[in-house]
Amino acid sequence: MQGYLPDTAFIPAHHLPGALIDLVQDQGIDTHRLFRHTSLFPERVIQGDAVATPREFLQLIHNSRQLFPDPELPFRYGQRLLPGHYGPISALLGQAGCLRDCLVAFNDYPALISPLVGVRITLDDEYLCVQWLDSCGAGSHWPFLVESAMAGLASVSQWLSHRPLPWQFQFSYRCPPWPEQYQVHLGERLHFERCMDAMLLPRHYLDMPWPRGASTGWQAARQQCDQQIQQLGFAHSARQQLYRFLQQAITSPPTLQDVANHYGSSPATIKRRLKQQGCHYQRLLDEVRLHQAILWIQFDGMTPDQVCRRLNFSDSTNFRRAFKRWSGLTPAACHKILQALSGH
């Protein structure tokens, strides 16, 4: 199984973590406390040769939130993040000719631009859906990651397109006691407790030309990103790699043994690797099936019965019970909520 693990050191500490370090420093907070429980040193970060693991990046986020417990933090962090000065990947973003070009960065090179949050992009006749997925087991920091990713993409797409993009924001979790942060930083189109963490946009914005687009520069940047990925040996986290594999085989879910055969590895190894990321095989499979069911209901207008059949469940009672376990909702309740959303 290829893909990076929480303990793979590959994130240049002065890039994405650097933006967080600067933000916390600007609040007048002692940086030494910010680096607690990581192997990073401020001097090395400034020299530009420190690399962090995803786990250390998460620890840095944990420390920042402890030192500066402000609900505005993820939004301000996200808004500073992109396009950034992270080498070829920033050039790729900055010269994107349209939103489709911009999303290539997130879809193809998450290791370079978003190591903690993976992305799943779905297109139907009307909507573009950018769904954010946990790459390395974020635990209680998941909302922080979602909010900074959303604020980042919303802000950079508005900046580069020179126009307002009417993103809708859909969250799996309940609205925290600070709705104002979401309203002001993301806009009024917010939907909480809607099964997944995603951003939606009418499809015709996807190919609308952006004024800063530069085709040659963008293609060259893409080549350079490919080279970087080759040097690293991975573009996605191990968990996201497996998610994508399961996503393709979702109508007849493979067993753990099948997955092991596919990767030329043993079930025990795969189990151990998933455990390192706070996950196990059945849970990941359930997650993929839930997400697929939601997308079918929300975008293809499928009824719970149709979803049940497509996912190869033997009977609807079984499906209802499983769905309730995955999402906390019955398929019918979920259908009702998501139908109301797409009627927006």
């Binding site: 600067d22 933000l23 600007d26 609040q27 500066f68 402000d70 505005e72 939004f75 301000r76 808004q79 500073r80 802000s155 508005q158 900046w159 020179h162 126009r163 307002p164 009417p166 006691p177 600070w178 104002e180 942060q181 309203q183 002001v184 930083h185 806009g187 009024e188």
Partner: protein, 301 residues
């Protein structure tokens, strides 16, 4: 408590009592004989020594919580008098001075009342100073103070305080109440042009500017991001419209200076809501909805 910072700010004020305490110690040692182990009275040593230590602790706490200046010096001088008086008391427990020497009695009995008088004067002026500060704070905090709901970026209260305050005001339904939401036009764009530190400073300075344009009874909070909320008690629609218009003019004429000294201009948009059988959340929601859709009128600045 940051010790380096403390020493840097108050070097002069701290040195004087410490030097005097050392001089007293040396004077005692020079003119008297140390007592033997059996002669020591431990209860007195603990009592007087503890009192001296506490007085010293008060000096450090006062210095740490206050900027330098006349009132701080007065408070420290008063506490130093009390500290030195106890200090000499402690010396007496260890060192026997010949009867011919009287300065130790003067120090013991004189420093205490002088210190008390200085401390009293200091506290009186502190009270006066606090009144002046409260008068300045009045448009940032109405009626009650809650330091935990202060905003991290601007010296204003945040959305939590706004909701608490609205709840209080709306519990008196006979009084009219208006709420203005003020949002900067394409602030996302400004933030990228100005950079993070200048755009943070812009919000701080804008807060000050808005305060200058408000009445005594009004309250300004930072809602989130670049959105400010203004609570107008005892205010009808027409009056709220007028104040909103004045604020808009003030923002339009505000020439924010970047670090490079360039002027950056901005415009504000307003959402005004007057309370009719509202609770805090519905009033805030209505004012937010009346903001001209930031997206609809967005264009490159």
């Amino acid at each position: 408590m940051n010790v380096n910072n403390l020493i840097a700010r108050h070097r002069g004020t701290l040195i004087i009592p410490i030097v005097i305490a050392n001089v007293i110690l040396l004077a005692n040692l020079a003119s008297g004989d140390t007592k033997s182990w059996q002669e020591l009275v431990w209860l007195d040593i603990a009592g007087e020594g503890g009192a001296a230590l506490l007085a010293l602790l008060w000096i450090v706490l006062i210095l740490n919580s206050r900027p330098g200046g006349r009132v701080t010096r007065m408070l420290v001088a008063g506490l130093s008098g009390i500290f030195l008086s106890y200090w000499q008391d402690v010396m007496d427990e260890f060192i026997r001075l010949p009867d011919a020497i009287v300065w130790d009695h003067w120090l013991e009995s004189g420093a205490m009342p002088v210190g008390m008088i200085l401390l009293t004067l200091g506290i009186y002026h502190w009270h006066k100073e606090q009144q002046a500060i409260s008068a300045q704070l009045i448009r940032r905090e109405r009626i009650f103070r809650e330091h935990r709901s202060l905003d991290n970026l601007t010296p204003l209260s945040g959305a939590h305080y706004l909701r608490e305050q609205l709840k209080r005001e709306l519990s008196r339904p006979d009084q009219p109440l208006a709420l203005i939401m003020l949002d900067l036009h394409c602030f996302d764009h400004s933030r990228r042009l100005l950079g993070p530190s200048d755009s943070d400073r812009l919000l701080k300075e804008l807060g000050e500017l808005l305060l200058l344009n408000l009445r005594q009874q009004d309250l300004l909070c930072r809602y989130a991001g670049d959105r400010f909320a203004i609570v107008l008690p005892m205010t009808q629609q027409a009056e709220a419209d007028r104040i909103a218009c004045e604020l808009q003019q003030a923002v339009r004429h505000f020439a924010f200076k970047t670090r490079r000294g360039e002027s950056h201009f901005m415009t504000a948009q307003m959402g005004i809501a007057v309370a009719h059988d509202d609770d805090a959340c519905s009033l805030i929601e209505r004012a937010n909805q009346r903001l001209p859709g930031a997206t609809a009128s967005w264009q490159a600045a």
